[in-house]
Structure formats: structure tokens, C-alpha cells
């Protein structure tokens, strides 16, 4: 906690100040990582040109007429604005969603090993997405994944709730059981599918950000933004809830309602992210954990910083995924796991996780 005290000292005691300073710093880092990542790829484009193109794109979208910053080949402009930026925007929103939902779930379960997909969201999404690939469903893969994710979360919640009471441990175990069950169904569907569908399904399961367009951004952004707002609204209640349900109740938090809202909203946020990008592991686990070591357990700071750090992490991971193998690209889920697991093991060995 020495780091945390030092930082708290540097920023003054006020929570609001700490939020502003941390979030500005992380937002700047996000901007920088988007610019750097946009320049990477088969066609190399300089950072200056990237920044100019983005600036043009932003000013074009505004009603005021402004000077044009970018001078250069038009193809580069198209590559940045229509190919790389939408993909990076999706990466940023998905990382943002997983980071914030992860912070909430770890608080909710009072367990720093919890993950936003722990109550079956990702396996529900996988079921929906793979079903849409293998069978002719009337809805697209994204919608099917979103619906599947929420249905799975609702089933897990229903199983774990008895007489209006939801045991956190029961929720965790029911989540694991339902995940296994759904994985078995997904495996079955993949087993009976043809080669082409199988490849598409496996690709989705690995988590990837290829072929994302602005319409994908438009479908993932609203639920994530709205959900994030609600989670922030309950941030202080979540702090109090960390003391235990009964104690939270004596401090004026209605534990049942708060738990239901937090669980439902973080499931929606996670489902939106997973539906568009597939199963991307470890962002929701590692990022909030790392941020907790830096900013402490106060969710009013932890949720927004985890969200922004998640966005930075996924944008960076995607940049690595696109450039590490030269010509071909890796699914980003592989990169996040390869980076995330060693870091997670480091936390497990060296930090407070071992007391669990």
C-alpha cells in the first residue's frame, strides 16, 4: 500500500481530485495508444499523419468548419478512418466494459479473483454466437450472443436465489456449473458442424476484433455507456457492500436491490462487449486487480480507472495482435491471455491474493 499512500499524498486527500487526475492521465494514455495503434499495420502511417487524420475526422463531424490538418494520400485517410479506427474504437469500448464490470464483480463477490463473466455471461454468449454460426437463426451472431449471455446470467441468478435471498457463494458455484453445461452444448454444436462453421465458431471463441465497423461501435457503445453510468451511481453503495451484506444494511444500503442492480447491469455491460468481440479473457480480471493496487479499493475511483485502463490494455493488445506476426494477425484473446496470465500469476504469488 506504500504506492497508494504516496499517490494519495501527491493528489491530496480529496476523492474527486483523485478521480479527475487519474482519469485524465488514463484518457491521455488511451488517446496516445489509439494514435500509435492506428499507425501500425500492413501500410505504415506516421503518427503525425494519424493525428492529423483523426483531428480532421473529429472536426468534420462537428458543425463548425475548420482547417484541414492532413495532407497526404487519400488511401491512408480511408485506412485510418474506415478500417483501423472503428476497430480500435470497438477495442476501447470492449476493454472499457470489461474493466468496469470486472471491478464491480470483484467487489460484488468480495473476491479479487472474480471475473465479469463469472456468472455464465461468456458461455451464454458463446452458445448464442456458435448457434448462429452453425444453425440458420433468424438473428445475427451478435444479437444471439447478447441474448444468450443475458439468458445465462438470468438462469444462474434464478438458481442461486431462494426465498428472495441470493447467496454469493451459491451464485459463484451455480455460475461455474452453468458455464460447464453450456460449454458442453457449444462443444456438441461444434462437433456436428461442418468445417467452415467450425472454423468460424473457434475464431469467435478465441476473441477477436477483425472486421469491426462503425456500426459495431454504434451497437456496443450505448449499453456500455449507460451501464457504466448506473455502475458509477452505485459505486459508493458497493464500497459499503464490501463490509458484508448485513453490515451494509445497517449503514443504509438495501443489499438485495443493490446486488440485483449491480449484477444485472454489469452482466449487460459484459454481454454487450462479449457479443461484439467474442470471449476476451483476463482483461476483466487483471486490469481491475492492478488498478486496485494503484488506487485502492474505493469504487468511485476504481470503476472509472479500471474502465479506462481496460480500454488502454485492449487497444494495446490489439496493436500487438495485428503486428506481432508480421503479415497475418492473431486473435486478440490469445494476446490478452498471454500477457494476462503471467501478470495474474505474479499477483497470485506476490500480492494480497494469496490470503484467500
Amino acid at each position: 500500500m506504500a504506492t497508494r499512500e504516496r499517490l494519495a499524498g501527491a493528489f491530496g486527500a480529496s476523492t474527486a481530485t483523485a478521480v479527475v487526475v487519474w482519469c485524465s492521465a488514463l484518457a491521455a494514455l488511451l488517446g496516445a495508444s489509439v494514435v500509435v495503434a492506428s499507425g501500425l499495420g500492413a501500410v505504415e502511417i506516421g503518427y503525425g499523419a494519424v493525428a492529423a487524420i483523426i483531428a480532421d475526422g473529429v472536426t468534420d463531424a462537428l458543425p463548425v468548419s475548420a482547417t484541414t490538418f492532413y495532407v497526404g494520400p487519400e488511401s491512408h485517410e480511408t485506412i485510418i478512418l474506415n478500417v483501423r479506427l472503428p476497430r480500435l474504437a470497438v477495442a476501447a469500448v470492449v476493454g472499457f466494459a470489461l474493466g468496469s464490470a470486472g471491478a464491480v464483480m470483484q467487489g460484488f463477490f468480495r473476491n479479487p479473483m472474480a471475473d465479469p463473466t463469472i456468472i455464465g455471461v461468456s458461455s451464454g454468449a458463446a452458445l448464442g454466437a456458435v448457434a448462429a454460426v452453425v444453425y440458420p437463426l433468424p438473428v445475427g451472431g451478435q444479437t444471439a450472443a447478447f441474448v444468450g449471455a443475458l439468458a445465462a446470467a438470468a438462469v444462474v441468478y434464478g438458481i442461486a436465489t431462494e426465498n428472495g435471498r441470493t447467496g454469493v457463494a451459491t451464485l459463484l458455484l451455480a455460475g461455474i456449473a452453468v458455464q460447464m453445461f453450456l460449454s458442453a452444448i457449444v462443444s456438441y454444436m461444434m462437433h456436428v458442424s461442418d468445417d467452415e462453421s467450425l472454423r468460424a465458431a473457434v475464431y469467435w471463441l478465441m476473441g477477436n476484433l477483425t472486421y469491426q465497423s462503425w456500426s459495431d461501435v454504434a451497437s456496443v457503445l450505448p449499453p456500455v455507456a449507460l451501464g457504466f453510468g448506473v455502475l458509477m451511481f452505485y459505486a459508493r453503495d458497493l464500497n459499503v457492500l464490501l463490509l458484508g451484506e448485513r453490515e451494509a444494511n445497517t449503514l443504509g444500503v438495501n443489499p438485495r436491490r443493490t446486488k440485483l442492480v449491480l449484477l444485472a447491469v454489469s452482466s449487460i455491460v459484459t454481454a454487450a462487449a462479449v457479443a461484439v468481440a467474442g470471449v476476451i479473457g483476463f482483461v476483466g480480471l487483471v486490469v481491475p486487480h492492478a488498478m486496485r493496487l494503484l488506487v485502492g479499493p474505493d469504487h468511485r475511483i476504481l470503476i472509472p480507472t479500471s474502465a479506462l485502463a481496460g480500454a488502454v490494455f485492449l487497444v494495446s493488445a490489439d496493436a500487438v495482435a495485428r503486428s506481432a506476426m508480421g503479415g497475418s494477425e492473431l486473435p486478440v484473446g490469445i494476446v490478452t491471455a498471454l500477457v494476462g496470465v503471467p501478470f495474474f500469476l505474479y499477483l497470485l504469488r506476490d500480492r494480497e491474493v494469496h490470503e484467500l
Partner: protein, 371 residues
């Protein structure tokens, strides 16, 4: 101010409070009684975290059940018995949570009550330290500071001196007494009869979910009451130093209260031991009130393993059960009259009938009557 009107509270299918009626105006009221008598449950019924099946609790005339959590929290502050906090909040952050019911969602607290409270119980000097780093006694004072910051008229304390040394215990209770002078009502479950007699204006003596006696300490802690409720011979006299009633327990009639080895053995033969497997300390407590209880196999460090006194077989969590552990647990279970099995433990192989933990006492009695 606080009116408890004929309440019944059941936990795990067991009536823990039976038609309890009590009331408190300003003052320091101590709730005393043996382990498992229902002291904690009574506190929880007052703060609304345990709902009565029957009867009502009123605060300033309003029925607690009909108040929102927030409204109740503005009127009643509770200091819990368990002082664990799972994430690394600083001492100040924990005390600041006491302001939660008073502050709007995105507002911040500017009342200064947080610092005032920390100064008052002498935790301000380690305000920046993590609650994990302070000792158990210090953490208890941190939680008391949180209650003061909550600024409610009623203060409920569940075993406020349980992990304090005698100096700190007296300090804490003196502080609590001084709050009463400022017009607060304090209700505290207190284990130590002598401390209760010395600091409380009134006592409520509970046993087996019922109020046995209430009133001034010298009228409640009579030799007759103490001997009946605690099952021990006792001498009750005036303490020359404090002028308060002093109770000295002599030899215990109850085996589980630490009689001699011979007495324990006899008691065991008469009542028959019950073996419990599970993770619910409340069920354990319910059973322990009636029977001698052995426990296992439960995870090492679990709440039940900590709460059980005597025969407990534990196994480190997430590790395979050793043959020795299994054999010891089987031996205990075989010698018991019944095995009560709930969630969160491993039931050993045994000849003894196994019942589930929905209504443990009823199930055990059925088996005993069958034999």
C-alpha cells in the same frame, strides 16, 4: 424510544427469540445471557437486519420493518461483532462509510464528523493505515468511530469488548457511557457480567430466546437468576472498588462450560453427542445449546471451525482429505447419536443416522426418541 413488542424470530427453522418484549429510553442498556441465548439476534431485530415472524420493533413509534435501510441507518448505528473487512480500505475510509446514509449519491461529506469521531475513540493517529494492518482491538475502535460518525440516536453494540484487553474494554465502555450523557440510547450485548453491571443503567437477561429478567443490574443479576440461567453456582456481592454488583461463578454444572474431566464424561453419556457437518455457525450454535457437539470435516479456518469448541476435524481447503482425517471424523460420527449434515463440509463414512440441517433439533430429537 426503542420498543420491542412480542417478537418471534426464527433462524434455520429454530425459534431463536420467543415472544420477547422489552423497551428502552435514554440510557445504557446491557443485554446479557449465555452463548446462544439470542443476544445478537435481538440486536439484529432492532436494526432491521433480522425480521420478526411475529410482533414488531418500533423506533420512536415507527415500525422498523416499514422504514427504508437508509432511514433506519440514520436512526440506528450498529457495531458488529465480526470486525473483518475484506478489501484494504484505510481506517479513515471505513469511518467515512458511517456517513453513507447521510450523504447524497455524488455528494461528499463536509460535516467534519468523521474526524471528530476518529479523535474521540483515538484512532485518528492511524487514519491512513489499512484496516488490515491494525490490531483486532484497534479495528473494533475503528468500527465504533464509524458508528459515531453515523450520528444516530440509537447505538447498538454486539460484544463491543470481546477482543479488547481490560484497560481498553473499560475505556470503550466509559466512552459509550459518556455518549449516553449526550442523549443517545445504547443497547449492547455484553458477555462480561461484571462489566455490564458496572457500566449499564439497566440490564436485560435473556436465556433460550426469552427475557428472564430486566431492570437495574442489582435486581437482574441475583444469585438465583445467575445460577438458573448460566447453570453455575455463583456468589453475587458488591464490588468495593466500583460499588457495582459483582458476580463470581463457582463450579460449573454444565459440561461444556468447563467442568472436570469426570463430569464431562458423565454429561456426555447422558445427553449423547451430535456430530455436525456444515458451514453455518448459526446451526452450530443452535445445536450447541442443546447437545454436546462435534464437528467435521470442515475447511480449516472456516467460521464453523473457528466457532466450535472441542471436537473439530478440519482439513485444509482445496486439498484432498487424508485417510487420517477421514478416520478421525468417522470415529467421532460413529460415537454420536446423530449426524447433522448441511452445506460446506464433507460427511464422513458412518453407521450413525445422517439428517439434513433444515430443522436440526427436531431431526435429532426424532432419532433420539426412536432409540
Amino acid at each position: 424510544m426503542i420498543e420491542v413488542d412480542g417478537i418471534d424470530v426464527s433462524l434455520a427453522g429454530e425459534r431463536v427469540l420467543k415472544n420477547v418484549t422489552a423497551s428502552a429510553d435514554d440510557g445504557f442498556i446491557g443485554v446479557v445471557g449465555p452463548n446462544g441465548a439470542g443476544k445478537t439476534t435481538l440486536i439484529r431485530a432492532i436494526n432491521g437486519t433480522a425480521t420478526p415472524n411475529d410482533g414488531v420493533v418500533r423506533l420512536e413509534g415507527d415500525v422498523v420493518r416499514s422504514l427504508s435501510s437508509r432511514e433506519t441507518a440514520r436512526r440506528v448505528a450498529t457495531m458488529p461483532q465480526n470486525t473483518d473487512v475484506s478489501f484494504e480500505f484505510s481506517v479513515e475510509e471505513v469511518v467515512r462509510m458511517g456517513r453513507h446514509p447521510h450523504v447524497s449519491r455524488f455528494g461528499s461529506d463536509t460535516s467534519g464528523k468523521v474526524y471528530e469521531a476518529m479523535e474521540r475513540v483515538d484512532v485518528a493517529r492511524f487514519a491512513d493505515r489499512s484496516v488490515h494492518e491494525v490490531s483486532g482491538g484497534e479495528r473494533q475502535r475503528v468500527l465504533l468511530a464509524r458508528c459515531l460518525a453515523q450520528d444516530a440516536d440509537v447505538l447498538l453494540l454486539d460484544e463491543p469488548t470481546a477482543s479488547l484487553d481490560v484497560g481498553r474494554a473499560v475505556g470503550t465502555l466509559s466512552l459509550v457511557s459518556s455518549l449516553v450523557d449526550n442523549g443517545k440510547t445504547v443497547v449492547a450485548a455484553i458477555h462480561d457480567l461484571n462489566l455490564a453491571a458496572r457500566f449499564c443503567d439497566e440490564l436485560v437477561l435473556v436465556d433460550d430466546g426469552r427475557v428472564v429478567s430486566s431492570g437495574a443490574p442489582e435486581n437482574v443479576l441475583t444469585q438465583e437468576n445467575v445460577e438458573e440461567v448460566f447453570g453455575t453456582a455463583a456468589v453475587v456481592e458488591r464490588d468495593t472498588a466500583t460499588g457495582a454488583v459483582r458476580v463470581t461463578a463457582l463450579k460449573s454444572e454444565r459440561a461444556s462450560d468447563g467442568g472436570t474431566a469426570d463430569e464431562t464424561a458423565t454429561a456426555k453419556d447422558e445427553s449423547g453427542r451430535v456430530h455436525y457437518v456444515g458451514d453455518d455457525p448459526m446451526t452450530l450454535r443452535v445445536l450447541e445449546r442443546r447437545y454436546e457437539v462435534s464437528v467435521g470435516i470442515v475447511p480449516e479456518g472456516s467460521a464453523v471451525a473457528e466457532a466450535a469448541d472441542g471436537n473439530v476435524v478440519v482439513s485444509p481447503p482445496f486439498e484432498p482429505l487424508s485417510n487420517e482425517t477421514l478416520a478421525r471424523a468417522s470415529e467421532l460420527a460413529d460415537e454420536a447419536v446423530a449426524v447433522v449434515a448441511g452445506e460446506g463440509g464433507a460427511v464422513p463414512e458412518t453407521e450413525t443416522p445422517v439428517v439434513d440441517d433444515a430443522e436440526p433439533v427436531k431431526a435429532v430429537e426424532e432419532i433420539r426418541n426412536r432409540d
